[in-house]
């Protein structure tokens, strides 16, 4: 297996200053020791609730926020410490953001929005550049004769296609999709997802697909990682992870998705009402040991003191949970084996 992107023990911490004169420093551990690999042509979904650090992970990978420690390698090249404009790296890693309104400069026409990376990375200008922009527009399913139009003349779904065309322009190896379809309505979502899949088949680009919509992630991702409070709790092949989750947090996350059967949904709601009310931890005050222990239904003594190490899971992937290693020793069997 060839590795395109290798992220090892990545930390991204922010320092907040609180108090009247900023004398009190608070450290936010947005990403707290995350490791994963990405292969060419692969889609890795990243799910997790708000504040789990999934967007920060994407931004650190884009080098929009500095990594506090850890390593990121692209094709074996160290990219964590690159300085200056890092043009080669910028060409290889591109981004599609969530909001197609804020992500396109309203004062520029399509030819310039999509053409800018062409000029920057491939030195294209004039008619050659316009021709290439036309090709890219067709590739994302928009007509090629829209060069002189402004973003405001397009619908939300079309604007997201423009953002995708812009990301493709530099011919990147990796595209970070940060909630790239979350702002679109459902029918447009599926069109854009199909487009992303088609483009991947053509160009072998890899996606880091960050989303909170589990159905979308399940559809598009080859593998999925589950983040909670800056940590990766479980990562594995998408089907295995959704069918046989190995981490109690993954289980809870999947259970939070409403089901179509009203009777089942009613039972779930009742069960959820019986859950203990706990104060949710924040990335400024992380629980000791396993970060999930304050909300875990299977919490054991060891969870409060020791951070669980990742162990392999039957069916592929890995999980970081004491149930799997030092507790009842599920030893890689799915959580349902607890009975």
């Amino acid at each position: 297996m060839s590795v395109l992107l290798d992220v090892a023990d990545l930390h991204v911490h922010f320092t907040l200053r609180r108090g009247l004169f900023g004398q009190e420093k608070v450290i936010v551990r947005a990403v707290n020791g995350v490791s994963f690999m990405l292969q060419p042509g692969e889609t890795l979904g990243i799910v997790g609730e708000s504040g789990s650090g999934k967007s920060t992970l994407g931004r650190a990978l884009l080098r929009l926020v500095p990594a506090t420690s850890g390593n990121m390698r692209l094709d074996g090249r160290e990219i964590t410490k690159l300085r200056g404009r890092m043009l080669e790296f910028r060409r290889d890693v591109q981004v599609v953001f969530q909001d197609p309104y804020s992500s396109l400069n309203p004062a520029m026409v399509v030819a310039d929005i999509i053409g800018e990376p062409l000029t920057l990375h491939h030195g294209m200008r004039g008619a050659a550049r316009d021709a290439r922009v036309g090709d890219l527009l067709e590739q994302v399913g928009l007509g090629r004769h829209q060069l002189e139009r402004y973003p405001s003349e397009f619908s939300g779904g079309q604007r997201q296609r423009l953002a995708i065309a812009r990301a493709l322009a530099s011919e990147p190896r990796v595209i970070v999709c940060d909630e790239a379809v979350s702002a679109l309505d459902v029918s447009t979502q599926s069109q854009v997802i199909n487009l992303l899949e088609d483009l991947q088949a053509q160009t072998r680009v890899a996606y880091l697909f960050i989303a909170h919509d589990l159905a979308v992630v399940r559809h598009i991702s080859h593998r999925t990682g589950v983040m909670y409070l800056g940590r990766m709790m479980e990562l594995g092949p998408t089907e295995r992870l959704f069918e046989a989750p190995a981490h109690p947090y993954t289980r809870k996350l999947l259970d939070a998705v409403p089901v179509l059967d009203p009777a089942v949904q009613k039972r779930r709601k009742a069960a959820r009402r019986n859950l203990p009310v706990v104060e949710l931890p924040t990335p400024t005050r992380l629980p000791a040991g396993c970060v999930f222990h304050t909300r875990c239904p299977h919490v054991m003594d060891v969870c409060r003191h020791e951070v669980p190490e990742p162990v392999p899971v039957q069916g592929g992937g890995w999980v970081a949970c004491h149930l799997q290693s030092s507790g009842p020793k599920l030893a890689g069997r799915p959580l349902d084996a607890l009975g």
Partner: protein, 314 residues
Amino acid sequence: MLRLIVSRIVGLVPLLLIVSILTFGMLHLVPGDVRERILGFEATPEQYEALGRQLGLDQPFLVQYGRWLGRALQGDLGTSYFNSQKVTDAVLGALPVTLSLTFGGMLVALAIGVPAGVWAGLNRGGRVDRIAMFMATVGQALPNFWIAMLLLIPFAIWWQLVPATGFTSPAESIGDWLRSILLACIALGTSASAALARQTRGAMIDVLQRDFIRTARAKGLSRTSITYKHALKNAAVPVITTIGFQVNALLSGALIVEQVFGLRGVGSLVIESVRTQNIPMVQGVVILGTLVIVSVNVLVDIAYGWVNPRVRAS
């Protein structure tokens, strides 16, 4: 764009009518009799009557206004009560002084305010930002006539680099003209530059947080390109609005500051006219002032269209 300009000019007509009725009405409510001022206290009642008929003051309010309006539509805003000077001549003679100050003050404000705001916005929370915003607070708090006096003492009195009073027309000597208005423009531009710096900073911070700026960084665009090609034009919209407001503020500020420097502009003219109840003169100043301000607003709208394609399309 053309439709926008035409519609603004058409909208000007009712606005000018309302403004003229209001000033005409208010001046009639001012206590005192203008005939006394012209003739003095020793005149006979017959002389009063005759003058009243001559000026049309014996007619009802609406007839007086109608007569004025009829002449105004033909470009004649009347004649001063006290000498035979035409109102239009008096106002057009005073206007260059006031407009020099207004636009000079605007240039000073733009030269200081916009770069300071852009710089502060790019370095949000940094030392430059904090110093600039502190200066902006001070600049907005100081009254412009006081700044004018503070500038006069060293530059005009101690070192005599510029004349303390008096206006030289640019037709006579560009250098002397600049020297005669320089201090006044700085005094005027200070508070406007503070307001502009604040707006520019806010607009920059707002734009820099948008995703297309993040994308531009992820593309590998240099910081300079991002600032010039992506950020500035989008930050310009609220700044242009502020410039429009500030022109109006500068125009009224100029009326006061020109007193400090003994420049005989529209300010002197209007204060003198109000004091002597020289109704045609006041009316003329207000009407022409309204025209200037509305023209500035139309220019602002055109500038909007230039920076914001959505306005252009509609």
